[in-house]
């Protein structure tokens, strides 16, 4: 497997502010790589560096084996980009913008363009100034997805899209992966990245702090479980893999590692389980659990706040 995207020790400063501080990232050919991080972590800066829109202060960047700063035209013919903040010319129609971007890219598949227009339910005859945020996003997505690029750099591609359209996008991304294309998908929504990605890199404060296959990162994820039981069993917190147990009346909530789910369920079932909700951890939870110390917050802070009496 060759690396399609490779960043080594990349530093990017804007004036005195260091946005990327020794970033390493590798995306291998044919994978969907999730690029996760909170707002301001440096995701967009990384993508702009990969496009040669910005120049790094230190470190090396290779995309398809080329230097994005020097080989812009050759490289960009082989990649497609969807910016995080899509700005369109207000007096051009959506159709005109899609065709313009397609031609500049070196050609679009017209049949695919029309299929995508239909799939995303976009009216190409409307002037861009009348489009909503979601519709502007669709214009950029269709323009990118209709090209025959080898690499797709997508900066929060579903922001502003409704759930149905998000679903359409996921279908498209899967088709691309099946066709052997490489996708770097930046997002702050864990579920979106989970659903699509082969591998994930997590960026925080300008550094990649975790990278690996989803299963490898499972140790980072704890499921949040809330249950109403007839009688709350004692010492649930002693079960392996069960954390942050909070009891309020007949309601138990806890954060559970995958290995702890089975013993907890047995204990709860024995205690007369009445209702059960479980939800995957949010990215915020994940950061608080694993990197809270590094941000100066105590890792127990989340547990303490979760300990508020919750009667609802």
């Amino acid at each position: 497997m060759t690396n399609v995207v490779e960043l080594n020790g990349v530093v990017k400063r804007f004036g005195t502010v260091t946005v990327l501080d020794g970033l390493d990232l590798a995306v291998t050919e044919g994978e969907v790589h999730g690029f996760l991080g909170p707002n301001g972590a440096g995701k967009t800066t990384t993508l702009r560096l990969l496009l040669g829109l910005l120049r790094p202060n230190a470190g090396s960047i290779r995309v398809l084996g080329l230097d994005p700063w020097r080989n812009v035209a050759t490289l960009h013919r082989r990649l497609a980009y969807v910016p995080g903040d899509v700005a369109l010319w207000p007096n051009l129609t959506g159709g005109e913008v899609i065709d313009l971007l397609g031609r500049l890219q070196g050609g679009q598949d017209q049949a695919r363009r029309d299929r995508l227009l239909e799939m995303f339910d976009l009216d190409p005859t409307k002037k861009a100034r009348t489009y909503s945020k979601g519709n502007r996003q669709k214009v950029a997505l269709i323009a990118a997805l209709a090209t025959d690029a080898e690499v797709f750099l997508l900066d929060e591609p579903t922001s502003g899209l409704d759930p149905l359209m998000e679903d359409s996008f996921r279908g498209c991304a899967q088709d691309l992966r099946d066709a052997g294309r490489t996708i770097l998908l930046s997002s702050h929504i864990l579920s979106e990245v989970e659903a699509l990605s082969d591998r994930i890199s997590i960026i925080r404060a300008g550094k990649v702090v975790e990278t690996g296959r989803l299963e490898q990162l499972r140790h980072l994820t704890r499921t949040s479980v809330t249950a109403d039981v007839a009688a709350v069993p004692q010492h649930l917190e002693l079960l392996p893999g069960v954390h942050d147990v909070v009891v309020a009346n007949h309601r138990v909530s806890a954060q559970v590692e995958p290995a702890g789910l089975a013993p907890l369920m047995q204990a709860l079932t024995a205690a007369g389980l009445q209702t059960l909700t479980s939800s995957p951890p949010t990215l915020e939870d994940l950061f608080l659990r694993h990197y809270g110390a590094a941000t100066g917050q105590a890792p127990t802070g989340a547990a303490a706040s979760g300990g508020r009496p919750d009667n609802v």
């Binding site: 910005l54 159709g95 005109e96 313009l100 890219q105 002037k127």
Partner: protein, 530 residues
């Protein structure tokens, strides 16, 4: 009413905060220019005889009357000194007020900033009211400061006040006109264009009206700029004329609010029509032309109309030949002997500066496309930085050349008709094209600044204003020669008067090329910035 105006005060403060450099600088510039002109007049026309001589010369020349108007009291120093300011600079003031008003109305609405604020406790009419407060306030300060500046040179206090109040009232009237325009169109550019067209029409109306003998005809009285002249500051001070622009202003303000109430936020009076589903734009060059074409057409129409009018006044320029003093005056105004040619050369030089302003604004697209994020989308494709920047730069250069060609052809055609001499077309067109390199230098300065200090790109407007001021007052200010030489307009040969000048034109073109190369160098090395 109170409900719909809630938050006006906060918006006024926000607007003044945003304009804390722009407005004071422009206001000061107008006051300074008034002061310069008034103090220069005292030196140029020391006694009554010289004033009467100069005033009669101006009043006898159709070209001067069309461009600046009449001197209504030949004995009055103020009336003579401020002749360029009652109509010509008043039009410039009107343009400024249109810009200020649109900036705080339609531009904010188009960019979405107003939507962000509208979530707060903000009445529907507050943004419009705040914009009018700002532009009315700017008119008031500008006018009164200019009054003070004129009085400080020793001109009569009453006349100075009448002159300044004329600017206050005219500025307010055109602010109201711009506010109406802002309700009609969905884009700030179109709204500004509408305002400028109204100014051009009112200017032309009074030009034709002023030419009527013995004095201004009804046409001048149809024009707000004509009203400003008829206040006749320093020449009788007709205070009652101030009522006209103020009435127009008071009449238009309710119209703007009614129009605002009839439309949605972000919308114009006309519903947006659907466009083509397929695009014909083949690349960045097509896009650059498409983004520029309407503005260019508007400019083309303006220069052609202006050119034909100026050209057809060429025969009247010989009316100056009444006395030695007249020749002396025209030498001061134009700088050459053959008077018809001197007149045409001076007019073509003015057009050259105007077209340089077009080149500047067209090249400024480079920066506005970058800040809106359009450049990011385009550079994400196989388009290189050089190719993209060239599309806008070359469109600006080509637009400048085209406009000067049209200026030459139309002025030449007008002159050929009025002088019954077909050979005028060729030589005037050449004279007009000689202005192109200087305008290209201005256009290229934009690219150079864009390459190295993108945030300062629009500051090139200040540089152009400095060059214009140097051309107008540099000698009177005793500006050092090196400063005068900075202005490309100083090096442009005044054709069709002189001959040669090829060396200067080649040097100017080379300067433009060097500035462009410098700009490309910076642009290829720097980060994209918002």
């Amino acid at each position: 009413m109170c409900e719909t105006l809630a938050g006006t005060g906060a918006l006024v403060r926000l607007g003044l905060r945003r304009d804390r450099w722009l407005l004071p600088l422009w206001i000061l510039a107008f006051a300074m220019m008034s002061w310069s002109s008034a103090s220069a007049g005292a030196g140029l026309f020391p006694d009554k005889a010289s004033r009467i001589e100069a005033a009669n010369t101006i009043n006898a020349a159709a070209s001067m009357v069309a461009l600046f108007g009449r001197v209504y009291d030949p004995t009055s120093l103020g009336s003579l000194s401020m002749i360029k300011y009652t109509a010509f600079m008043t039009a410039a003031l009107a343009v400024l007020m249109v810009f200020v008003t649109i900036r705080h109305t339609r531009a904010d609405e188009e960019s979405g900033q107003l939507e962000l604020l509208s979530g707060g406790r903000l009445g529907r009419n507050a943004p419009l009211a705040a914009a009018l407060v700002i532009s009315f306030g700017a008119s008031l300060v500008l006018g009164l400061l200019s009054s003070a500046a004129l009085a400080a040179t020793g001109l009569p206090a009453a006349g100075s006040l009448a002159f300044g109040l004329g600017w206050v009232a005219t500025g307010m009237a055109f602010s109201a006109v711009a506010a109406v325009g802002a309700q009609l169109t969905t884009s700030a550019r179109a709204a500004t264009g509408l305002g400028v067209i109204v100014i051009a029409i009112t200017y032309a109306l009074r030009a034709v009206g002023d030419l009527a003998e013995p004095g201004p005809s009804a046409l001048s009285w149809l024009s707000p700029i004509g009203w400003n002249q008829q206040i006749r500051a320093f020449a009788g001070d007709h205070w009652w004329v101030l009522v006209l622009p103020l009435t127009l202003c008071v009449a238009l303000v309710p119209v703007t609010f009614v129009l605002r109430a009839r439309r949605d936020l972000g919308g114009g009076l006309r519903e947006e029509r659907p466009g083509p589903a397929r695009g014909a734009l083949a690349g960045v060059w097509d896009l650059a032309v498409r983004l520029q074409d309407r503005v260019l057409v508007a400019w083309a129409v303006t220069v052609v109309v202006f050119g034909v009018v100026i050209g057809s006044l060429a025969s009247g320029a010989t009316d100056f030949l009444t006395s030695p003093n007249a020749q002396d005056l025209i030498r001061k105004l134009g700088g050459a002997q053959a008077l018809t040619d001197a007149f045409l050369a001076a007019e073509i030089a003015i057009m050259g500066i105007g077209v340089a302003a077009y080149g500047l604004s067209a090249a400024n697209r480079l920066r506005s496309e970058e800040t809106t994020g359009h450049t990011e989308a385009l550079l994400g494709t196989a388009t290189t930085r050089t190719r993209w920047a060239t599309s806008h730069y070359a469109a600006a250069l080509a637009g400048v050349a085209l406009l000067m060609l049209l200026t030459g052809l139309s002025t030449g055609a007008g002159a050929a008709l009025s002088l019954h001499d077909g050979s005028q077309v060729g030589r005037i067109t050449l004279a007009s094209l000689a202005q192109v390199p200087a305008a290209w230098v201005i256009t290229s300065v934009v690219l150079a600044v864009f390459g190295w200090a993108p945030r300062l790109t629009s500051a090139v407007w200040g540089l152009l204003a400095l060059f214009i001021a140097l051309g107008e007052f540099g000698v009177l200010w005793n500006a050092p020669q090196w400063l005068m030489d900075l202005s490309p307009f100083q090096h442009t040969p005044l054709l069709p008067v002189g001959s040669g000048g090829i060396v200067a034109l080649v040097a100017l073109t080379a300067t433009a090329a060097a500035l462009a190369a410098l700009g490309y160098l910076g642009w290829r090395r720097r980060d994209l910035t918002a």
